[in-house]
């Protein structure tokens, strides 16, 4: 079969315009664009894309429906395996997953699978009534507690509710969504899209209690005492890392978590309409090369920074961020300093940041991961004058739950120890998944882990009843 259509570019706001606002950058396909893109798919008999997808979305099938113009059918196919397509279509690293294995990508460009996924999800939101039971039913009568309302928790809760459990989500923050609301910015993932998914999960009968920190407000033991028969921990990896270099506590040094939470969750970009402030400064340096760093640096521009830098100790090829976001950042005028590592944050007498002292790096021998290890070039220190430094060095799981739950074991780096096929932790009845288990990973993997745990919990509770 040969390709008929073509990979249509998705319209985007122009870089000069978009750095002045927080509106979504990628504007979405029209039905015509989607159908043209869908026709580009050659409908492989043995599709590589499906294997590349962590939840094995039936990609050729849904794309075929789009090509036929039957968007409702396409949407149903996607939703069979992916409960958050509007989100995944926007934030999945497709170039590392489905699109990486697309045959067309071997010679030319792969099918724009992510964009099509987003299209069907958005189309559904606008045109279809979501078919949910009018009255939530809880035929099993059993209660399950889900801790954390990120993609792992939302998915696990939604699946369990569909299986007839009475599910309550406990969320530490005042809003549901996890990283999707406090981390990923509006211009990449509109909060209305997240809210839609949260509403959907609620419509399945799931109760969401915000402002509850498990381990502080209530413990896992209390949950069992209150009649919850199983607990899912989807608590994410929320602890920020700092470098341990001099000057990191100067005024003007932020963790990416603080920077993004102020901006996205607390809407500091609308200050003083919203009460939470942020100190942007004229020149901002973001340290790191992942999605978090890209989001932080692009927020800096939108918050009014005139110069925004990415400081990354390896080279461009090693950057873990989604390719599309790196490209967006380039277009928006972000200055990339590769093979550069901070050694000190410099401040003035009053304790405010004035610069970031860095050292040049070169790539040496490959390390354990097979990537060439960056090593400092002696005597190559130099100072980049900046007013603000944002540390986006990765995060690790929060110990609040593990410290307060007897029997719950963790790896030395903080991740919860679980049985891979089920998500069962070292404590009976307690399951976990997402970043809390893997460390910072992806939305789709967290969602997949939530699904796995939901079926495992169902099996566990069914067997327990039989015992």
């Amino acid at each position: 079969m040969t390709s008929k259509g073509s990979r249509v570019e998705m319209p985007r706001q122009a870089p000069k315009e978009r750095i002045k606002n927080f509106y979504e950058v990628a504007l979405g396909y029209t039905p015509e664009m989607a159908m043209e893109t869908a026709r580009y798919c050659i409908q492989c008999k043995k599709p590589g894309c499906v294997k590349g997808c962590p939840v094995n979305v039936k990609i050729p099938e849904f794309i075929e429906k789009i090509a036929e113009g039957d968007f409702a059918a396409a949407s149903r196919i996607v939703k069979e395996t992916n409960s958050l397509p509007a989100i995944c279509g926007r934030v999945c690293p497709q170039e590392e997953q489905c699109e990486k294995y697309c045959v067309l990508g071997k010679k030319g460009e792969p099918v724009a699978i992510g964009r099509l996924e987003r299209f069907v999800a958005d189309w559904e939101a606008e045109n279809m009534k979501i078919d949910t039971p009018p009255e939530p039913v809880h035929p099993t009568g059993k209660k399950v507690a889900v801790v954390g309302s990120g993609p792992a928790g939302l998915t696990c809760a939604g699946d369990l509710a569909k299986m007839g459990y009475r599910v309550t989500i406990f969320e530490a923050l005042h809003a549901a969504g996890g990283v999707l609301v406090y981390g990923i910015p509006e211009f990449r993932l509109p909060k209305s899209v997240v809210a839609r998914e949260v509403e959907y999960v609620k419509s399945l009968g799931v109760e969401i209690l915000t402002n509850v920190i498990v381990g502080r407000t209530i413990t896992v033991d209390d949950l069992f005492e209150e009649g919850y028969e199983a607990v899912f921990l989807g608590t994410g990896a929320g602890l920020p890392k700092f470098m341990g270099i001099p000057g990191e506590n100067l005024n003007g040094v932020y963790s990416a978590n603080e920077w993004l939470t102020r901006t996205n969750l607390m809407k500091a970009y609308l200050f003083p309409e919203y009460d939470t402030p942020i100190k942007t400064g004229r020149r901002v340096a973001v340290v790191g090369g992942g999605n978090v760093a890209m989001d932080a640096v692009r927020c800096a521009l939108r918050l009014g920074a005139e110069e925004a830098y990415i400081i990354y100790r390896r080279s461009e090829q090693e950057m873990p961020a989604r390719a599309e976001e790196v490209e967006n950042a380039h277009e928006e005028g972000v200055v990339f300093k590769f093979l550069t590592n901070p050694v000190e944050v410099i401040g003035n007498e009053a304790g405010w940041v004035t610069g970031l002292k860095c050292i040049k790096m070169e790539l040496g021998e490959p390390d354990a991961s097979g990537r060439r290890r960056p090593v400092p070039v002696q005597g190559s220190e130099f100072v980049i004058p900046v007013d603000t430094v944002v540390m986006a060095l990765g995060t690790s799981p929060n110990p609040i739950v593990s410290q307060t739950t007897p029997g719950l074991r963790i790896h030395d780096w903080g991740g919860l120890i679980v049985e891979e096929q089920t998500g069962l932790t070292t404590r009976e009845g307690v399951y976990a998944g997402g970043d809390a288990v893997t460390g910072s990973a992806t939305v789709i993997l967290a969602m997949g882990a939530g699904k796995t745990a939901a079926s495992a919990i169902h099996r566990y509770l069914t067997e327990k009843q039989g015992r």
Binding site: A172, N249, P277
Partner: protein, 280 residues
């Protein structure tokens, strides 16, 4: 919902509210705090739990109207509900069960000192207290403190009651005349706590302070609340809020507390402006 059940005006700028928060009340211990937000566009601010009643499911908060959020809170009355409130946060204070302890509260800081003094008193500790304020009319919880202390000293900046000067002066007088304390607990504005710590340092008396840095989440997620203790970075919301005052890097803590001074003013101006009180 976090409904306000009772409200007392302690001074023109200091209010006490009793809030319905059963889950928080069930777990609260002296020294812990909550983070709250009044409106959808509001900021999250920490407030110490001044008291709690597990049976009634309420917690008591005392605050001084300084920034926008505390002003908004100040206007709320009985029956109104606080939009978001989460806790209890931080580590409970490790209070001594015996001996003689000096409790020092400055300004609104008397409120967080009170539950600690009360708890120690109930365990049989000999509690001596110093309470202070800018002037006599701003003194709070004097009666309550007297009920749990063997002696209460009062200091006011303007001399309108008790010692004319700071609470730290009174600590100095007590230590100079040879009074012995196993520990000192000092809570209040950062500069007051720093002054207290400097006074007790030469005497080597363990001095606990309750730090109140800028916070966002209160769960260790953002690092806004970091401070240096013994040369190591700590997150106040999970490692604190009580720290050994002699180990705190005060210069850093003071300057970090001032990061948003400018913005705090803008927020208050903006609030006044929105209400028609705009200065041209």
């Amino acid at each position: 919902m976090f409904t306000i059940e009772a409200k007392r005006v302690l001074t023109p700028v200091t209010k006490l509210i009793v809030v319905q928060a059963p889950m928080v009340a069930r777990k609260a211990r002296p020294g812990q705090f909550v983070i709250l937000r009044c409106t959808e566009s509001g900021e999250r601010i920490p407030l110490t739990i001044a008291d709690y009643d597990r049976e009634k499911g309420t917690i008591t908060l005392v605050y001084q109207e300084v920034g926008k959020t505390t002003r908004l809170l100040g206007r709320m009355g009985v029956g109104d509900a606080i939009l978001d409130l989460v806790g209890p946060l931080g580590m409970p204070a490790e209070l001594p069960r015996e001996g003689r302890v000096l409790c020092v509260g400055g300004g609104v800081g008397v409120a967080p000192v009170y539950p600690k003094a009360k708890a120690m008193h109930e365990m049989g500790v000999d509690v001596v207290s110093i309470i202070g304020a800018r002037s006599a009319d701003l003194l709070i919880l004097e009666e309550e403190m007297r009920a749990v202390s063997t002696a209460v000293y009062v200091a006011t900046d303007d001399g309108s009651r008790g010692h004319h000067g700071f609470v730290s002066d009174v600590i100095k007088q007590l230590l100079e005349r040879g009074e012995q304390f196993d520990e000192i607990i000092a809570v209040g504005p950062i500069l007051m706590m720093r002054a207290c710590v400097e006074v007790t340092r030469p005497y080597g008396v363990k001095t606990w302070v309750s730090m109140n840095p800028i916070m966002v989440d209160g769960t260790g997620m953002c690092g806004a609340c970091r401070l240096s203790v013994d040369g190591k970075t700590k997150f106040c919301c999970v490692d604190g809020p009580m720290f050994d005052g002699h180990a705190v890097d005060w210069a850093e803590a003071v300057r970090r507390s001032r990061i948003y001074l400018e913005e705090e003013k803008i927020a208050v101006d903006h609030m006044n402006c929105a209400e028609g009180g705009c200065r041209p």
